[in-house]
């Protein structure tokens, strides 16, 4: 850089500068220094802080995305679990209903049979009672009729 500076200024320093388009002089190294200083300033004021913010955000977004993916997977797993449980519960309930229906049916049949047997027994009993009473009555009637017949016979015989 120094040699450039010397080279550029050697011509200009000896004679009065007359300008021109390609007038290289001490502007060159100073401008280079300015650009280097600007680079460090911008690095400290712009590139590092903004880079940190942008990359922090990118990291945050990536983290949140993986987290939410995990959560979604968990939710789906739980959902499948719950669906499974629900299916089991439904089947169990169905089973219980069927069993209860069968039991009720059985109880009904038992009660019905018992009641029928009871009714049959009391009917038989009543029939037998009627039978025996009728026989008693018949016996009493035949005895009475025998007595009356005897009486009639005796009266008729006595009258002769």
């Amino acid at each position: 850089m120094t040699s450039w500076l010397l080279l550029a200024t050697a011509g200009a320093a000896t004679s009065a500068p007359e300008g021109g388009l390609f007038d290289l002089d001490a502007t060159l190294p100073l401008m280079a220094v300015q650009v280097v200083v600007l680079t460090f300033l911008l690095n400290a004021l712009f590139f590092r802080p903004v880079g940190r913010v942008v990359e922090d955000r990118e990291g945050f977004i990536n983290l949140s995305r993986t987290e939410s993916k995990q959560k979604l997977a968990q939710v789906q797993r739980l959902e499948a679990d719950l669906a499974e449980q629900l299916k089991g519960a439904r089947q169990e309930a169905q089973q219980l209903i069927v069993e209860a229906e069968q039991e009720v049916d059985k109880l009904y049949r038992e009660a019905l049979a018992l009641a029928q047997a009871d009714a049959n027994a009391s009917r038989d009993h009543a029939r037998r009672e009627i039978e025996s009473q009728r026989e008693q009555a018949l016996a009493a009637l035949s005895k009475e009729s025998d007595r009356l017949g005897d009486l009639i016979v005796n009266r008729l015989l006595a009258a002769q």
Partner: protein, 242 residues
């Protein structure tokens, strides 16, 4: 109607006239430094305002700065490569921002309203000293980048893929800064001259297309300079896979 031959020398007069400052034995182009300080001041003001209270949810100027940062990062990463771009991001970014703001400042700020004793204010990049300074910085950077990363193996680059390339690669080391500096200098100066001459001849409406074209060229030139600088550094740090 003033005859043209009288007008043209007036327009010509502005070119190459310098506002000299004397610093001991050395001469400085005062107008270049004045306008570059305005540019640097504007850049630093923007950056300081934008980074004053940065939040995770960006607001206002922070949005712009973050856009610029990601834009420059993508540029540097693409040209230099994943491994080394981080070290050179500030340099590439500073080149891009400085040249961009210089060019646009030269086109947008009404410098002509400010009178200085000799010469005139304009884009600092329209002065050959500025562009050569930056081009030489780029040369130093890519030498430093290559040497610091690969040591003396950096010079293998000169004989790859064949030793026949050696003279061309050596010439390249001279043509790189030359083309970098003259491309930028020429584009910006030519743009200023075209706008100046057009504005001098027909002061209304006619210079407008040239001005818009100038804004476009200015942005492109800043991008080209930064991209090429990053590309040279990337070439220097590139690891050949044997």
């Amino acid at each position: 109607m003033v005859p043209l031959p009288q007008l043209l020398p007036l327009a010509e007069l502005e070119v190459g006239k310098q506002f000299y400052w004397h610093l001991g034995n050395f001469h400085l182009h005062g107008q270049v430094f004045l306008s570059s300080w305005v540019v640097i001041g504007a850049l630093l003001a923007l950056v300081v305002v934008g980074t004053r209270s940065m939040k995770r949810d960006p607001q206002g100027v922070q949005n712009l700065l973050e856009f610029l940062w990601t834009y420059i990062r993508d540029l540097a990463r693409e040209q230099i490569g994943e491994k080394a771009y981080r070290d050179w991001l500030p340099f590439i970014g500073t080149l891009f921002l400085f040249i961009f703001v210089c060019n646009w400042g030269g086109a947008l700020i009404p410098w002509k309203l400010i009178e200085i004793p000799n010469g005139e204010l304009g884009a600092p990049t329209a002065d050959i000293n500025t562009t050569v300074a930056m081009a030489l910085l780029v040369s130093l950077s890519y030498f430093y980048a290559g040497l610091s990363r690969k040591g003396l193996r950096y010079f293998e680059y000169y004989v790859e893929p064949t030793p026949i390339m050696l003279p061309f690669k050596i010439i390249e080391d001279f043509t790189k800064p030359l083309s970098l500096s003259f491309r930028l200098f020429g584009n910006i100066l030519a743009d200023e001259l075209v706008v100046g001459v057009l504005a001098f001849l027909v002061p209304v409406i006619v210079p407008l297309p040239a001005m818009f074209l100038g804004l476009f060229t200015s942005a492109i030139q800043a991008l080209i300079f930064a991209t090429l600088a990053a590309n040279y550094i990337g070439e220097a740090v590139h690891e050949e896979h044997h």
